[in-house]
Amino acid sequence: MSPHPDIRDEDLHAFIDGELDTARNAEIADAARDDAALMDQIAAFRADKAMLAEVYAPLIDRPLPAEWLKQIRGEDRRRRNPWWAPITAIAASIVLLIAGLSTYRGLPANGEESIVREALAARSDMLEANKVVVVASPSEAGNVNHILAAALRMRVKAPDLSRMGYKLETVHVYGNVPGGESVELRYRDAKSRDFALYVRHPSSGVRFDQYRSAGLRVCIWQDDVLGTVMTGPISAAEMQRLASLAYTGLES
């Protein structure tokens, strides 16, 4: 509250922001010269205003996620489609739905996105697992690593995501997928959010992508040796960190 009886709070802040007309500005400046409390008050508010800019302004330099730029430019292409595009899109959706259902039933599906469909089906328990292991304690890590390595026929281990607050809860092993078997490692955090890491041999080339689908953040990270799909009800930033930790943590 303004310590000066003739100066309203609103005028005091308008003075600080240079929003007053010349006459009123001069009146407040004169009053402040004769009133130490008013001078201190103005200094305090000016300092807070300066601090706000100092604290937040540098955030503008943070690099933008490439996904956003792709989304904006990709949306352009979609909107330039002709009038019959919606019909084509519906037809394509039906084809995808049929392909998706085929995958859920365990039929092999080729193509880049089949790994994502499998991962989403596994996450929603629509893929029948050959084996399910409930991980009761971290001491079972050796056993889990053995299961993982046997299913994928390569030296890999279950990533430790405890740094991010996630604990490994279950391991599902699936058969009849491209490359033989696949594994889903399902982690849970204190808020009961599930982060699923689906791993198998890659079905296409090197790929990294992240997007949101049906309330889930999906990250595909694939190289010549391993294909992984990570899903969770999490933000892009959290997925970025979890994906890095999980992908590097797979290395035995």
């Binding site: 609103e10 706000l52 800019a53 604290v55 540098p58 730029l69 904006i72 999490i234 959290e238």
Partner: protein, 211 residues
């Protein structure tokens, strides 16, 4: 469809065939082609994201909000009547989404405290006291959304009162009284026991020593 459409030479830098030019409809400068809108949107993203981070107080929540804002802006870009006002238009969308979000209380990801980003990324931080910065952010986060919003529009976005009045669609008097209340609450929070944020005397002394 506007009955009185007039086209003028475009904003430039666009490939032949894509540039449809500025469309003047009833005297209002409209947003132009979708491609132009996309470029303008990208140009405003860093500031929008910064505003979101400051408003929300954590980075992951802010990024989700910006992404939602992008999606809505792309859907509704034809509603933007004046491309010059895209910054305010985007902030309004973002703010509305944020309010919806708070109402829904949708579960968020693990929140990355914005002060971590400040520690990591801000070149100016080394000159200041990280504890003070942290307390300042904490104090900001105790304020209502309305108060944070108006403080950011004045102190970060550099808008004048009239521009804020137009953007928030409230009278000038409301802008002034809301700003006064917001600053008083912020100061009270900073002066609360336990805050490491500098008091006035310290800050002034620090600034004097820098000169």
């Amino acid at each position: 469809m506007c009955p009185n459409v007039e086209t003028k030479p475009g904003f430039g830098r666009f490939p032949p065939g894509q540039a449809r030019g500025i469309v003047r409809c009833g005297g209002v400068l409209k947003a132009g082609t979708r491609e132009q809108f996309a470029e303008a949107l990208i140009a405003h993203l860093p500031a929008l994201r910064r505003y979101a981070m400051a408003l929300v107080g954590n980075a992951s929540g802010a990024d989700d909000l910006v992404q939602d804002c992008i999606e809505r802006a792309l859907r509704q870009y034809e509603d933007l009547r004046d491309r010059q006002r895209i910054g305010g238009w985007l902030r309004s969308i973002l703010h509305n989404l944020y309010i919806d979000e708070l109402r829904r209380r949708r579960s968020r990801g693990v929140e990355e405290d914005i002060t971590n980003l400040i520690d990591d990324g801000a070149p100016s931080v080394s000159a200041g006291d990280p504890g003070s910065f942290r307390d300042f952010v904490a104090a900001m986060n105790t304020l209502s959304v309305e108060h944070r919003q108006i403080l950011l529009l004045v102190g970060l976005e550099g808008l004048n009162y009239r521009e804020i009045s137009e953007e928030l669609k409230v009278p000038l008097g409301t802008v002034m009284s809301r700003l006064a209340r917001a600053r008083e609450r912020l100061r009270a929070s900073l002066e609360a026991p336990g805050s490491m944020a500098p008091n006035v005397a310290t800050l002034m002394a620090h600034r004097r020593s820098e000169r």
